[in-house]
Amino acid sequence: QTADPLITDVQDWASITGAGVDETPYGMPIEYESHVVRRNVEWLTASPISSINFTPIHALEGTITPQGCAFERHHSGAIELRKEDYRLMINGLVDKPLVFTYADLERFPRENHVYFCECAANTGMEWAGAQLNGVQFTHGMIHNMEYTGVPLRALLNEAGLGAAGDLKDKWVYVEGADASSNGRSIPMEKALDDVLVAFKANGEALRMEHGYPVRLVVPGWEGNMWVKWIRRIEVSDTPTESREETSKYTDVLEDGTARKWTWVMDAKSVITSPSPQMPITHGKGPLVISGLAWSGHGQITRVDVSRDGGITWETARLGKQGDTKALTRFYLDVDWDGAPMLLQARAMDETGYVQPTKDQLRETRGENSVYHNNCIQTWYVNAEGIAENVEVS
């Protein structure tokens, strides 16, 4: 071992002064992290305006997703809508149809919650077998933020639900202000439970691509229902059966019939490192296996990790317990002997549900369901530490 010049020589950064506090009023990550960005797959869709990109979950840690790299899904592009031009209408079976401005929304009592938002199509390509080589692409249609907003029930209460009568079979229909408007129907029970009309995420205003100035947060349910730029909420005696809840976001089973109203995102987990974009570069010895787990039914209670393709499992350490319908970080700290591995993670949630294998899913549903693939994912890690997306027997 020779002396490290990075230590023995006086480096520029230890001698010359750095950037002043007036240089970057709102900062971006340092240039050395510029590869940690959302990425899209061009051939997936006809146009990037009606498309999706993927969160770089392989390169993130902890659980909170920065807005600037959280996946985007638009149906007619992200729009620029000023707070001053924002209007939210509540109509339909209410005592008094109302129009709120952004300033009105800020006067309702607020709540803060961390929730994951997962696109129903996340991991959807894997129905056809191991496809894209990267956890960003297999599992990156997810983000997890702390939302500040007003419970939807408070706004419904303001308009009055007397006119709706028995609330048991009632619905709210929600739509956005963008050209697609992306309407979805939500059963009243959920609307009165934990749905938020949110205007901040991770402490700052929503970014344009996440629905500035106001979006809907529908905890644990598929991302398509989290309507961005939300402009109208209608109380109705029937679901609208809009395009997004009939022709899309329905799940075709083997016999050609399809499941509809499959709103909840079931328990799921994935190892983010090592993974195809995060090879092991340090050789044998201490290795941190790190991953994410989540469930639309509540808390993650346990995550098991296998290093041999599911023959033997070890229970991982949860980074922090307690968040419901939010990402949970898990770790397995091991000594790697340099032998090849087949890495898998398996999540369990508070209902006792165990994340299924690809075989279990295919046996029950066939292979034509685009959405709701929460299979156990496998990475083959070779002796050099290179990881690849594979399927196993």
Partner: protein, 384 residues
């Protein structure tokens, strides 16, 4: 005390601290206190006016409630469809590139790759009206009249052989129209079909005898520093990969020389446009949003449902390689007509008058100054 015992002391106290923390009961939940809800209203917001509700509340329910008065047939719809929809969905609703196919696909839902069209899959006709009227055409949503919408919906039904071209679709019969796949949906039955069976204590050891790799990723993905991704087919086969048993991996492949670390190159700084005219170019970029649904411009611009627009001024009309032009543009190309500022300004104001028969569905730039701005913007890509 010497250094060693000092370290030992610190270690002991750290251990004690860890033990203390571990003994604490786990915090069950991190619930945020719920916001209070008043019994009565808080008096926020104002009453919505009937005309405001009428402007926004246009959704149509499966039974036809919400339909505006109007009528249309496939005969009229054909021309409208060719004009406003065919650029993406094809003349016969067969779909162009990755854009949705709207017709056909009957009896394919149980096949390996089901073709889910309006005819083969959509359970309610109300959804078609609702979506077309509200969200289409792509890039010009909300511009169709009720009669035009009925005609386009009728043409989509006609393309699916579900009506003849004289059938008059209207607010009176749309809600009662029975779609072929109306009964093809079941309400989410995962709780019964899956949850019970899968909520069992999972196996922890000797869960399988042997595991082999049955499939490797179809695509390898490059992630260039400028963003996006490039996928290439993975030529590797599963042959030669180790199998796994409770004894471990079947063999440990000899480690190969480590490949040179790939140095991430920071993306070159984007050159700022020259000050002169920069404002106009910026304004033009905003106007160009109206065109982006169909056209690309700039480095690497490709043909989409419209041709790429690099170096447009000075270019022969209808001359982009690989783009399928309408007859009127092919004729212009044969005559050797060139795009200049005058012709482009006139075309952009009213595309269908200037180029009778163009497939471009855009109705035109109404605001004076928009053409100048957009030409300035396009001219900033003359070198591409």
């Amino acid at each position: 005390t010497d250094l060693k015992s000092q370290i030992a002391l610190v270690q002991d106290s750290a251990k004690a601290k860890i033990a203390e923390l571990e003994a604490r009961p786990a915090v069950a939940t991190s619930m945020s206190a719920p916001a209070p809800v008043r019994d009565g209203a808080m008096g926020l917001g104002r009453e919505a006016l009937l005309e405001e509700i009428a402007a926004w509340d246009v959704d149509v329910l499966p039974d036809g409630r919400g339909l505006p008065e109007g009528t249309g047939n496939a005969f009229d719809g054909e021309e409208l469809f060719a004009d406003k929809c065919a650029a993406c969905h094809g003349d016969f609703a067969e779909g162009v590139d990755n854009w949705p196919v709207l017709a056909g696909g009957f009896d394919t839902l149980a096949d390996e790759d089901p073709v889910k069209t309006v005819g083969s899959y959509w359970p309610h006709l109300s959804t078609v009206y609702d979506y077309v009227y509200r969200s289409m055409p792509f890039g010009e949503a909300g511009t169709l009249t009720p009669d035009e919408t009925y005609a386009i919906v009728a043409y989509i039904l006609f393309s699916n052989d579900l009506i003849d071209d004289e059938f008059e679709l209207s607010h009176e019969n749309l809600g009662a129209f029975k779609m072929p796949n109306k009964d093809g949906f079941v309400v989410d039955d995962r709780p019964e079909a899956e949850y019970a069976a899968w909520s069992v204590e999972p196996c922890m050891s000797n869960c399988k005898e042997e595991v082999t790799v049955t499939m490797r990723s179809v695509f390898l993905v490059n992630t260039p520093p400028e963003g996006g991704s490039e996928s290439v087919m993975n030529p590797a086969s599963v042959e030669g990969l180790p199998s796994f048993s409770s004894a471990g991996a079947s063999f440990i492949p000899e480690a190969q020389a480590k490949p040179e670390a790939v140095v991430e190159v920071a993306a070159a700084a984007v050159e700022e446009p020259a000050d002169e005219g920069a404002e106009l170019i910026k304004a033009g970029e905003k106007v160009f949003k109206k065109c982006k649904a169909c056209h690309e411009v700039g480095n690497g611009a490709k043909n989409k449902s419209g041709p790429q627009l690099n170096a447009l001024i000075g270019r022969t009309m209808g001359s982009v390689e690989g783009f399928k032009y309408s007859n009127v543009f092919q004729a212009a190309a044969d005559e050797g007509r060139i795009w200049d500022e005058a012709s482009l300004t006139e075309f952009l104001a009213k595309p269908k008058s200037y180029m009778k028969g163009t497939r471009m569905s855009f109705s035109g730039l109404k605001k004076e100054g928009d053409q100048v701005a957009i030409i300035a913007y396009l001219n900033s890509f003359l070198g591409e």
